[in-house]
Symmetry: C2
DNA sequence: TATAAGGTCTCCAGCAACTAGAATGTCAAA
DNA sequence: TTTGACATTCTAGTTGCTGGAGACCTTATA
């Protein structure tokens, strides 16, 4: 299977598949005589796995780790759970920060009249000392 | 005021202040004979302004725009409100996505026993077809 | 068989917003 | 005077791709 077909099948851009090959995340099974990357089912599964994990916000390094667990028949679910739990904590932290940001900005937007006059609490909030 | 003192005063790394000067976001008021960047109160205010706006997730380009509004005595609050409102929408969208991600991952983490056995719904979730 | 279209290759560059480090220059105090 | 802290410029790295150039390969159609 050539890279174009693979990309279509796993719903990733060709460039990305090539990139994953370059960084050794998911290498093609082989190369054709003319140098084309050849993939088969095993790699397709891995690429889908990677796409999913990436969509969950796992970094490439985390995906690499997850992938090795996925490939390892002896992996324990504890290892996986630990990585996922860390990610969950990151997400929760980010959510809290985003919430705080949102609330303050929403407050400012509400307070700003949005007319022709220059007075605006949003600008003031950024300008006034801590 | 030299860059080190400025950085301390506005609570930004020296490198960042230099970077902001390089990209023309906040330029020093002058250079000393030996080439040192010289800042005064005006730039300090702007740098604080930039730090705050960045902390709110505004991109450098948005900050640039905000900064020009901030500098312009004739700006209308409507302009500012529009930029802020867009940012607010971005934040809300991101929050929704993060929430969805969080809930699914939390579900998976809960479902994963986290013991020595390899069975793990987190891995399965990434591995099974859409 | 020739040719055109489209797929693939490698390599280089760039995105955002810094950050790190090297090599060098300047300044103030002991 | 010499040390040490600070400053300068420059290059390159970070993350995770993405775009383009120029060249080669494959397939279909005329």
């Amino acid at each position: 299977m050539n890279i174009g077909a693979v990309a279509k099948a796993v719903d990733l851009p060709v460039k990305t598949v090539r990139y994953y090959a370059d960084i050794g995340l998911v290498r093609p099974a082989a190369r054709s005589t003319s140098g084309y990357r050849q993939y088969d089912e095993t790699e397709l599964s891995k690429l889908v796995f990677v796409r999913r994990a990436r969509a969950f916000g796992f970094s490439i390094d985390e995906v690499r780790e997850l992938l090795s667990l996925y490939e390892d028949r002896n992996r324990s679910s504890a290892d996986v759970k630990e990585i996922a739990t860390h990610r969950l904590e990151d997400i929760e932290k980010k959510m809290r920060e985003l919430k705080a940001l949102h609330d303050e900005l929403a407050h400012l937007v509400t307070a700003c009249r949005g007319d022709d006059r220059p007075d605006c609490p949003i600008i003031s909030r950024f300008a006034t000392p801590v």
